[in-house]
Subunit: 204 residues, 2 copies
């Protein structure tokens, strides 16, 4: 088995944006396969008794988020704009991402969504915004939307969220390796890649 990392992300998560924009290159350089798995962090927050993101619930965390993301984005040549609606409802985007997987475009579509949300500050629950993302990923809108409505796609997204919970995931982005080691946060991407190489195909 080749070294592999699972990238767990939520489209409403600003730090997931940072990882989405660099994980493909970073993993390719390290010759590690990446599996993109969107999940719904809100479901996990609810199970913890939280009704929204801590960035929205706690003003000091929201202010810091803007400072921190602004500095890191600038250092990486990205722009950061806080979306007009935060946290966004990412259900439709996540289903479309899973639908895009069967056309091998989950990475392209996901990056288009994150760019719309956190570079352009757009509301990714808006169908017009999602249409632009679908087009940017080179996909056919009618076809992708039809597939995204399929019960198997809904089940897969629900399954991702349940599997994230089983793995002990409580935030996004998170990374897991074949031995189910968990790494939380864009700051841990390098550590997760190094771990993936060291464990290779070894099971837990």
């Amino acid at each position: 088995l080749n070294p592999k990392i699972v990238f767990w992300y939520e489209f409403a998560s600003p730090y997931s944006y940072l990882s989405a924009m660099r994980i493909a290159d970073a993993a390719e350089r390290a010759m590690i396969e990446v599996e993109w798995r969107p999940f719904l962090l809100g479901v996990i927050f609810k199970a913890q008794g939280w009704d929204t993101s801590p960035f929205a619930a706690i003003p000091a965390r929201g202010r810091y988020l803007r400072q921190d993301l602004g500095r890191i984005s600038a250092a990486r040549g990205l722009t950061f704009t806080m979306p007009e609606v935060f946290p966004a409802n990412a259900l439709k985007a996540a289903r479309l991402a899973i639908a895009a997987k069967s056309e091998d475009r989950i990475c392209e579509f996901s990056r288009a969504v994150f760019t719309a949300a956190f570079s352009k500050g757009r509301d990714i629950s808006d169908n017009a915004v999602l249409d632009d993302c679908i087009a940017e990923a080179g996909l056919d809108g009618a076809q992708l939307r039809a597939r995204a409505g399929d019960p198997s796609v809904k089940d897969e997204l629900r399954g991702n969220t349940e599997e994230a919970q089983r793995l002990g995931i409580f935030g996004a982005p998170s990374f897991t390796t074949r031995d189910e080691a968990l790494f939380w946060g864009d700051d841990r991407l390098e550590q997760a890649l190094a771990w993936a190489i060291s464990v290779k195909g070894r099971a837990a």
Copy 2:
């Protein structure tokens, strides 16, 4: 004015342990002055509506904490042991640290407390544990305890916590620079040091 960083820490905070063990060396290499300022994170959590640390309140976060701290400590040649009581009541330790400042031993005393808590897993609210830390820092117990009971020390600790809140601090460790830029987490130490150099004596 020379470049300077303020190190905001809470003795019950595991990630503050990581920074306490490396900040003096890292800042010295970068020729940056460090001001050690203990504060009471529990007061800030309470103001946010939290009655304990998220590591204690949310089981998945507590489990991840052990994984993450274990990996990082190992990579840095430190040992990590989760304290028997978590989060510890760090009020006495914080007052003693402020008292140790007047003998220029706040850094040594603080590292002794963090080592007791997170390397040895001891309960730092215990007077016998604190006595060991006082001795390790080369301080006189009776004298330090007398000073720690002084109203000016209590006021200074309360002032630190209030100032932390004013600066938008919501977690530990945090770092601030002369222009009041805020950096949260041991992961941000390098970024904070670089910022301190770039702003030097510039006011906000």
